[in-house]
Amino acid sequence: MSAAIDTYLTNEIGPLPFCPGCGHDPLLKALDKALVKLQPDPAKTVIVTDIGCIGLSDRYFTTHGFHGLHGRSITYACGLKLARPELTVIVLKGDGGCGIGGTHLLNVARRNIDITLLVANNFNYGMTGGQHSVSTPLGGITSTTPMGNLEGVMDLCGTAIAAGAGWAYRGTTFDKDLPDRIAEAITQAGFSMLDIWEMCTAYYLPRNELKKKDLVDIMGRNNLKYGLVANNPRPEYGAQYRATYVDTTTPESKPRTIETKFSNNVTRQTGIVIAGSAGQKVRSAAGLLAQSSMYSGLSATQKDDYPITIMTGHSVSEIIISPEQINYTAIDTVDYFVLVSEDGLKKTKSRIEQLPSTCTLYVEKSLELPHTDAEIIRLPLIATAKKVNRLSIGILALAALVKDSDIINLDAFAEAITAFQKPAIAEISLRALEAGSALIQGREAINR
């Protein structure tokens, strides 16, 4: 067994760079003592920092170092930990970083990812000129609160606990037991954080009366608990994810592929539009028509249009089928238009008005159409669908189109239904297919 590591700090680029009296110095030394106590493998340990004076710290350790953008250290730490669960991940950030990156604090606590956060909380931005932060005490003088801070103090531990943090501690760099507390935090199998209050001798101390003992007094005045604030462990996210989601033994089932089994009567790129309502399974019916066409040796594309509130309003699908590769995927000249509901009519009214005489329009017979040059075929789609299944109106209407136009074979449609729908649904769809094609027997074409 290799000799115990007696320090995780390195002098490779010189001594710690902080101002005389800066709290970052004792904080890092306390972290070093905690690591010496725990003896993690430096190659399995990473110190993650972001911007601020404390962000200079990672490079003074013999562990891996990751120095990222202001306030975002928690996000990198989560990525590192999720990708390499065996890593000990320690994040050092300032009170400034907790402000700009507040959402990451909330969400790492909520998810409970096993990283340890040390906040070097010195009440102001030491790197950019002593501006106030989310933790500046009320009345505190900073370069941006010259008459005293009026903004409330963020309770960092309380905020994290409200979001679900299982382990949180508040202390100061003057605490004798800080190394033990940091070690305790690191050993937690979940998110843990220490809000460590300390002095900024460059900016905060010269402007404010602040003695060592005042730190704990300020905590008291702000109802912020000193010491262990929470210790309520709960399951860690990464471990749960691996247990619940990761399953490399059952590979994803191979996608079902389509081979040409039927012939077709399509000689050029053909555009089909079906317009209906949310809940009428318009998109799925359109997809099946496209797949039927693929079974018939054709290329196909499909685009859908529906409101973001998906369970209300229109649902319009555009299908293009072609004996050749389809390049232009918009339908400027519609060849077949299928209209099954009032919502669909409302959405496509102006389009229907512009349909050319070469277009055939299959329409639910109760709908009142605007003027159009298209050949109109009125069919009792709603009444027929009611007899089969309300949700099968799309397939029923497209079956009428296929039967009437003879662009492809109805058997290809049946093939797609059987291949891509669950048996119970397919059984209904096949009945809809039959009912829809039967409507064409004695169709009544009305041109207006």
């Binding site: 680029i13 430096p42 190659a43 399995k44 990473v46 993650v48 911007i51 200079l56 990672d58 490079r59 013999t62 562990t63 891996h64 170092g65 990751f66 120095h67 990222g68 953008l69 975002r72 996000t75 990198y76 989560c78 990525g79 590192l80 930990k81 999720l82 990708a83 390499r84 065996e86 890593l87 990451h104 909330l106 969400n107 994810y241 490399t248 059952t250 590979p251 994803e252 996608p255 079902r256 592929t257 389509i258 081979e259 997809g287 496209a290 797949q291 693929m294 054709l298 290329s299 196909a300 594309t301 499909q302 685009k303 249009d305 973001i308 390049n327 232009y328 995927t329 918009a330 400027d332």
Partner: protein, 374 residues
């Protein structure tokens, strides 16, 4: 072998898996959300991790962390999300992080017509972060190209240790097409070069300016460092103007010296044609129809489809411009990539843009009327 009927977003997810992607983080946004869904379903089955971040900043942050731990990471969003990725994209550049970023463009600015297509982010994607470094940007025109170029994007990210963009469009990504992905020809998989085991690691050491440094994973045996700050080869902060300039030259050289290796341009050249169409993405498909129509009418016209938008495939474009009198650049924006073309155009050649961003595709007839016959 056989046809499937899938949308571009699924092809992107499958291209990523084919490239051994094992980490995904992303935030929902139309029209890229289904990439998130596909990755959340697929990655756990190969032992990978997919997670929905609390926002775009967290999503790309997690990807950068995972990538530096050795993962092959993907993230996907739409234009507004790229705004939030912006600063971290700079981090991936300076930290030399292999990462693939998908931008499924939608009509903008801001929320715009959120469910509709456009290609307004061409220059934005190219210049999306501070510092002005070169970027690799690939743009697919079809569902099968979405698959192929996602796979290729991973190779480029690994080879040059850079973030690579797949810049696409709602029109490719949420349109279903009949495709046979198994018939798509893919190059060999590329993995980042790693520091030899047992050798100490200087995380940003390179011999030639254009060479990507050897990779040591955070959490691997060699202690390594990653940093957002200007650094020397050891990854330590530096203020030396010489070292900083050398690093800046290095970021640029990695990509600029590889222009011809990265170049992906489909060429449909007709001898003696004096008209050249230059297009990319979904619009190149309208161009293909327009070119066919014009040729049927006896016009001579050539066409280039640029799949690697950046670095601009200057060498290929210059060659194709020889003898050309008129260049037509149709775009679903108000004229962006045309600016890259104009820089290359010899005096006397007319460059015509066909532009709109009203959410609809530019039709072959519009290209003919406003581009060729105007």
């Amino acid at each position: 072998m056989g046809l499937e009927f899938i949308e571009g977003n699924e092809a992107i997810a499958r291209g990523a898996l084919k490239a051994n992607c094992d980490f995904f983080a992303g935030y929902p946004i139309t029209p890229s959300s289904s990439i998130l869904h596909h990755m959340l379903n697929k990655l756990p089955r190969v032992g990978g991790v997919a997670i929905q971040g609390e926002d775009e900043i967290a999503s790309i942050g997690m990807c950068i962390g995972a990538a530096m731990a050795g993962a092959k990471a993907l993230t996907a969003t739409s234009g507004p999300g790229i705004s939030l990725y912006s600063e971290n994209i700079g981090l991936a550049i300076i930290g030399e992080t292999p990462l693939v970023i998908v931008n499924v463009q939608r009509q903008g600015p801001a929320t715009g017509a959120a469910t509709k297509g456009a290609e307004g982010d061409i220059l934005f994607t190219r210049w999306c972060t501070s510092g002005g470094q070169p970027m690799i940007v690939l743009s697919p025109a079809t569902v099968s190209e979405a698959y192929e170029l996602t796979y290729r994007a991973f190779n480029l990210a690994e080879q040059y240790r850079v973030p690579v963009f797949l810049l696409t469009n709602k029109e490719v990504c949420v349109t279903r097409e009949s495709v046979d992905l198994e018939r798509v020809e893919l190059p060999q998989l590329v993995d980042r070069t790693r520091v030899a085991i047992g050798r100490p690691c200087l995380p940003y050491r390179f011999k030639e300016l254009h060479e990507a440094p050897e990779f040591a994973a955070i959490g691997g045996d060699q202690i390594t460092r990653f940093t957002t700050s200007s650094h020397d080869e050891a990854g330590y902060l530096t203020s030396s103007p010489e070292v900083i300039q050398r690093m800046i030259d290095h970021y640029a050289a990695k990509i600029e010296s590889a222009e011809e290796d990265i170049a992906l341009v489909k060429q449909d050249i007709e001898a003696d044609a004096e008209t050249l169409m230059i297009s990319y993405g979904i619009t190149s498909r309208s161009v293909a129809v327009a070119v066919k129509k014009m040729r049927e009418q006896g016009y001579k016209v050539s066409s280039l489809t640029v799949q690697s938008l950046y670095p601009v495939p200057t060498t290929t474009l210059r060659k194709a411009l020889v003898g050309i009198k008129r260049v037509i650049v149709p775009e679903m924006n108000m004229g962006q990539y045309i600016q890259e073309i104009q820089r290359l155009i010899p005096a006397g050649v007319k460059v015509v843009g066909v532009n709109k961003m009203d959410t609809t595709l530019i039709s072959p007839d519009e290209i003919i009327e406003r581009g060729i016959l105007s």
